[in-house]
């Protein structure tokens, strides 16, 4: 099994006819993802990657019911595309674009909450349930990273995901679902909100979070562990442990202000809540082995 998507999830692709949209839609389908239709204003009647294209989400859904929407539009148009899917009742939306204006990010987040929908992204490579389905631009063909298995992964980064997940796989594990929540300051979905899904998924034995300095998402995971909203083993790798305060380290969300947001602070919160925290990518695999062989470490 998996969370959020599997081989039965019916997916609509917004911006399917674009260069990036068509390229990755083809990859999604090659993996087995069920893409039922696409939308691009002005392109109705075309067929892209074998999927029929409509002018709008509403017009596409009239012919092809869908469970989720994959958004491939440039950053400045993302908010409108997400609102279009929300207005049409779609409850799972994945948006990849890097560069969504902050005020748009906030409006997307509050609209998702108001509609009780899950918006993943932006500034992410998307989500994948290896061997089943993908919404995004993940290199699923790299076998030493995207191997099916029983570890759930949540991440704020793209390249680091490949690095850390390859360590999870080389330690002998595979991935149930990998969710890239993205590196923006206001992501559509936060780590802690995904934990109940992994908790309920019978095919997920443990979760790895790949976090970084800045924000409070890792602290919220610690709170969820303390509140027993997640009871399976949890291993974290956090980057930016030695980053100086006040410097924005790459991602817009990766900045320490005051004493909050430091990796040491996050590590303390997670460890006190019973999680294992890796200092180096390779340790993620060894800690996972420890966690899964030693029974319930959190007593």
């Amino acid at each position: 099994m998996s969370i959020l998507i599997n081989q039965n999830t019916r997916i609509l692709v917004q911006g399917i006819t674009g260069k990036e949209g068509s390229f990755w839609t083809q990859h999604m389908m090659d993996l087995g993802t069920r893409v039922v239709a696409g939308s691009t204003p002005g392109k109705e009647g075309q067929v892209c990657c074998g999927a029929p294209v409509y002018h709008s989400v509403r017009r596409a859904l009239q012919e092809h019911p869908a469970d989720a929407s994959m958004v491939f539009v440039p950053p400045r148009f993302v908010m409108d595309a997400v609102m279009e899917s929300l207005e049409n009742g779609i409850k799972l939306i994945v948006t990849l674009a890097d560069g969504i204006p902050l005020h748009d990010q906030a409006r997307i987040r509050s609209a998702a909450l108001a509609n009780q929908a899950t918006v993943i992204g932006g500034n992410t490579s998307g989500i994948i349930s290896p061997g089943q389905a993908m919404m995004g631009s993940l290199p699923y063909w790299i076998e030493r990273v995207y191997k099916p298995g029983r570890v759930g992964i949540m991440t704020r980064s793209g390249s680091l995901t490949n690095e850390v997940t390859s360590m999870v796989v080389s330690a002998g594990f595979g991935v149930s679902s990998l969710i890239g929540v993205g590196g923006d300051p206001v992501p559509g979905t936060r780590f802690a909100e995904l934990l109940p899904l992994f908790e309920q998924d019978a095919q997920t034995d443990a979760v790895v979070i790949i976090g970084e300095l800045g924000g409070t998402m890792e602290e919220e995971v610690a709170e969820a562990l303390n509140a027993k909203r997640f009871t399976k083993p949890l291993v974290a790798f956090l980057s930016g442990r030695t980053a100086p305060a006040g410097t924005r380290m790459g991602h817009a969300g990766a900045i320490i202000s005051g004493n909050k947001g430091t990796v040491d602070y996050k590590t303390k919160a997670l460890e006190e809540a019973g999680a294992l925290v890796a200092r180096r990518p390779r340790e993620t695999g060894t800690l996972l082995k420890e966690a899964l062989s030693g029974g319930n470490l959190r007593g």
């Binding site: 969504i100 793209g158 680091l160 390859s166 442990r241 030695t242 380290m249 790459g250």
Partner: protein
């Protein structure tokens, strides 16, 4: 992008927020006219983007014209890249208030924060007396509503005219925050006079770079950056930070770059610069390497594990850069991801060996920086 104080205050003034009378001095020649206009005593404030200007001695009160002239000339002499000096009238006040607007990532709402104990560093206040900071969430669709304004001002402990004038500033600051796509709009201190009027003593406005397509453009010249190289990197759109050590990092992906930065420090090495050439920049290996070599590092450490940022394309760029720039320091390259199977052959042309393990590459780079040789 961060605006200078005078730029922020211009936008505050347009939105109806009272600011002190002021004149901008861009060079020594403009000094006399500015001091004629404002008179003395006055405040003399360096326009720099770094925080803690007061502590650094970059904001001072001048009692006489002579003192003001000496200060201004001294600043321009000491700081060759100084953008400008702002000369402002003195404002007498009975209270200093802190006001800021930012975005709350959990709710997706704007967050208005205030304290009746303005003037001091808000992060210090947050640590020492968090209960003195009043917070209010604002739904972006509904905007800042009148009942919220009075609730906020009275909760701050203000009364009468002061409550009214600070409320008006909050309303107008929210207008600036939304209209300008701000990440942060802050006034600290906001002076409240004996008569209860409010005047912005300082101004911070950080405009979201992602929203520049719908915002007023500011020509960002060299004075916005800490060094020539940071200025050049910014013009190329390449994230780049200098740290002063001897290992130049050239990584693709922010998270991986941060991890490599950590690993270098764990191994006892020191980072010369952080440079991220992933995403849209993966074809800019030449520029990236030139920026790295300008720091005269003892070694350049390249680490990538990309998808769209193809390993083979980056490898070709690296080989080309080595042929063009002829670096005298060793290069340690760890390239993985899409197209990785072609990298070995591409590297052979310049005798470069591909590392496949990040930690091994980092250990090698640190050992080379300390005088060791490549294995």
């Amino acid at each position: 992008m961060k605006l200078f104080e005078y730029q922020a205050k211009e936008l505050f003034k347009e939105a109806g927020i009272p600011i002190p009378r002021s004149a901008l001095v861009k060079n020594k020649q403009e000094m006399a006219a500015a001091l004629d206009t404002i008179g003395t005593p006055c405040m003399v404030k360096c326009q720099v983007l770094s925080g803690g200007r007061g502590k650094a001695g970059l904001v001072k009160k001048a009692a006489s014209r002579q003192e003001a002239e000496a200060l201004i000339q001294g600043y321009f002499d000491a700081l060759p890249m100084l953008h400008a000096v702002l000369v402002e009238e003195l404002v007498s006040f009975s209270q200093e208030v802190y006001l800021s607007l930012g975005m709350d990532p959990v709710s997706g709402k704007a967050m208005l924060m205030g304290s009746a104990q303005g003037g001091m560093d808000i992060e210090t206040l947050a640590m020492e007396a968090p209960e003195k900071i009043i917070k209010m969430q604002i739904n972006l669709d509904k905007g800042l509503q009148p009942f919220q304004l009075s609730d906020f001002a009275f909760t701050l402990g203000l009364t009468g005219e002061a409550a009214k004038s600070v409320s008006a500033v909050c309303r107008n600051l929210y207008k600036v925050f939304c209209q300008r796509d701000a990440e942060l709009a802050e006034i600290n201190p906001l002076f409240v006079t004996d008569a209860g009027t409010a005047v912005a003593g300082d101004g911070k406005l950080n405009i979201d770079d992602n929203a520049m397509f719908r915002q007023q453009a500011y020509e960002k010249d060299r004075s916005y950056y800490a060094s020539d190289m940071e200025y050049e990197a910014a013009r190329e759109g390449i994230p780049y930070i200098e740290f002063g050590g001897d290992i130049s990092l050239m990584c693709a992906g922010a998270g991986l770059a941060n991890t490599v930065y950590d690993l270098v420090n764990f191994e006892g090495g020191s980072v010369a610069n952080y440079l991220e050439f992933g995403g849209p920049n993966y074809m800019k290996a030449g520029t990236a390497m030139r920026l790295c070599l300008a720091n005269h590092p003892k070694v350049v450490l390249i680490v990538t594990f990309g998808t769209i940022a193809r390993a083979d394309v980056m490898a070709q760029g690296i080989v080309q850069a080595i042929q063009d720039l002829k670096p005298t320091c060793p290069i340690v390259a760890c390239l993985r991801g899409t197209g990785e199977e072609k990298v070995d052959e591409i590297f052979r042309e310049v005798g470069l060996v591909r590392y496949t393990d990040t930690e091994e590459a980092v250990r090698t780079a640190v050992s080379v920086a300390k005088g060791g040789t490549l294995a």
